[in-house]
């Protein structure tokens, strides 16, 4: 990672009529970083990504990508970006390899360059043996890998990934993550949106949590967990109706308690101690699980999603 700033946003705003989708966010991403936008649906992640991808005019604030202004140099910026949108948008009238050729030509690459690049990318996407097939019958994971391969055809300096693994099965997700690690090692800057905590924890060096168009927290996954959660969490499940009765005694013994419909999340520095103290007070849950804090706990705390929907 160097100090070169590839993405700079100051007070970046996007509105659609009355509705403010992105409400004055500040973001800095440096070359070689894997940066994440984490947030629930409708938090403004995709609107931000579209502005960064230079396909959505900025409503207000300042935005610079690769040091350039998208309002002036949109095409020049896009020539150096790779975009992997939320929906695959592959060209179903073309074969797998034609998808790469045709897309490469949109970047003004010569036929020779495109063909050489296609072989590399098919290898990367593990699709070499499907190169002559139509796109339509490919599995979800294969389509996603092809979309990412297509986004890489111009050797981009920055790869934008909008919810890269949404809708994929666990195996396909791990294959995809593995490909993304490889890109990161090769020095490609990754900008990722996701609402999966494990994905953010796995992939991102640094991330911001967005809610209602604003940034509510920023840091590395570790930093966020330290700042917004406790070291450990105890998950308590009770018999029907019992949860509410015990809530008071549990709250007295913990830093914070999050009441989900089916369980209590008890935030504490030492889970075993807390559990022992609860037993001492006669709290007998059906089950108790002590675990380390994750980004999900940070997320629940910051966005209050568990109470809203």
């Amino acid at each position: 990672m160097t100090d070169e700033v590839l993405l700079e946003a100051r007070g970046l705003t996007k509105s659609f009529g009355e509705f403010v989708a992105v409400d004055g966010i500040d973001v800095l991403v440096r070359r070689g970083e894997a940066f994440g936008f984490l947030g629930p649906n409708g938090a403004g992640k995709s609107s931000t990504m579209r502005m960064v991808g230079c396909v959505s005019p900025v409503t207000g604030g300042r935005l610079r990508i690769l040091g350039l202004d998208p309002a002036v140099d949109g095409a020049a910026i896009r020539a150096r970006l790779g975009v992997c949108p939320q929906q695959d948008m592959l060209d179903e009238d073309l074969s797998v390899e034609e998808n790469l050729w045709v897309y490469g030509r949109f970047f003004g690459l010569s036929r020779r360059e495109v063909r050489a690049r296609t072989d590399e990318l098919l290898e990367f996407a593990q699709l070499t043996d499907r190169r002559h097939d139509r796109v339509e019958p490919l599995s979800g994971g294969m389509k996603r890998r092809l979309t990412i391969a297509r986004a890489l055809v111009n050797n981009p300096e920055v790869l934008l990934l909008d919810e890269p693994t949404t809708g994929l099965d666990p195996q396909a997700r791990h294959v995809l993550w593995d490909r993304l690690y490889r890109l990161k090692r090769e020095g490609v800057t990754l900008i990722i949106t996701t609402h999966y905590m494990d994905e953010a924890e796995q992939l991102c060096d640094r991330l911001v949590v967005m809610d209602h168009g604003r940034i509510v927290a920023e840091g590395s996954p570790r930093e966020l967990i330290e700042a917004y959660s406790t070291r450990e969490v105890v998950e308590l499940r009770f018999e029907d109706e019992q949860q509410e009765r015990h809530l008071g005694s549990v709250e007295a013994l913990a830093e914070r308690v999050e009441a989900l419909p089916d369980r209590l999340l008890v935030y504490t520095a030492d889970g075993d101690d807390t559990l022992a103290a609860l037993h001492g007070r006669g709290v007998r849950p059906l089950s108790a699980l002590v675990r380390r804090s994750t980004l999900e706990d940070v997320f629940l705390h910051l966005t209050g999603r568990s109470l809203v929907d």
Binding site: P57, D69, A71, G74, L81, M89, L90, W101
Partner: protein, 272 residues
């Protein structure tokens, strides 16, 4: 060139300089996709040929000669053939610029994917319309060949009939694609049929303009297919004069307005 920041990406919708630029890659994409479905070319070709033989040759046998608006007396088949050439150029372009474009725009999201690259809205508009011209040009050339074999071509000016058909295709393709950007669902395409049918039947296609009362003649003169029909008829029958440039101008303006409008609409729809 500078642009207000809030409309950043819109400047790419302005159609000057008018070179093909990135549009040729959009064209190349369509050519690659078409390789798998070239059989479709047949349907666009056979329709006007069927019309030519059923109406021009078959019905024409009952009619005898027709006096053209230029004053010459020709067989009915020779009278109808140029009009069918213009109409097939229109139909080919419209089919491509409506159904195919709508599918790419709304369902395939093809243009969203293109706009993530240096390709801009104008490149898409020009590339798509150029593609419908390639298709329309192929239909026209094949039809002209049939007309030639059937002995319905009477002048060397007919060599210009294919470029003229491309012009008709440009005008209709561009306006049709512009219209398509306003379509909400497949039902809306009924309006396209509603506009094309009467034009096909009444634009001095099957009988001369002089058949109409004076007031209706002006209505016919206002419609675009009429200009295409007059142009093709003049070229195939060799009744060429400077007055034809007016028809060329009409179709050209329509085409340019359509291309500019389409670029703007793509930007408005997709670069939000």
């Amino acid at each position: 060139m500078t642009a207000p920041a809030s409309h950043g990406t819109r400047w790419r919708a302005v159609p000057f300089p008018p070179g093909l630029g990135m549009a040729r890659f959009v064209l190349a994409r369509n050519a690659a996709a078409f390789r798998r479905s070239w059989v479709l070319l047949l349907s666009g070709f056979v329709e006007p040929v069927f019309y030519l033989f059923s109406l021009g040759v078959g019905l024409g046998a009952l009619i005898g000669g027709v006096r053209t608006d230029g004053g010459a007396l020709v067989s009915y088949a020779a009278f109808v053939a140029p009009a069918l050439l213009a109409a097939s150029a229109m139909n080919g372009a419209i089919f491509d610029a409506t159904f195919n474009v709508f599918f790419k725009l709304k369902y395939q999201r093809l243009y969203d994917a293109m706009l993530a690259t240096p390709v801009g809205p104008r490149d898409i508009a020009v590339g798509e319309i150029a593609w419908s011209l390639v298709r329309g040009g192929l239909y026209s050339a094949m039809f002209l060949l049939v007309a030639l074999v059937a002995g319905l071509v009477r002048s060397w000016w007919a060599l210009l009939a294919v470029p003229a058909a491309l012009l008709v295709g440009l005008a209709f393709g561009a306006v049709a694609m512009f219209t398509t950007t306003f379509m909400r669902s497949w039902q809306d395409f009924d309006y396209v049929t509603l506009a094309i049918q009467p034009m096909f039947l009444f634009s001095a296609t099957f009988f001369p303009l002089s058949t109409y009362p004076e007031a209706l003649q002006w209505v016919v003169r206002a419609t675009p297919l009429y200009h295409g029909v007059v142009l093709e008829r003049a070229l195939l029958l060799g009744e060429v004069g400077w007055g034809l440039l007016w028809h060329v101008g009409y179709l050209l303006v329509l085409g340019v307005v359509g291309v500019v409008g389409t670029s703007r609409r793509i930007a408005t729809l997709l670069l939000t």
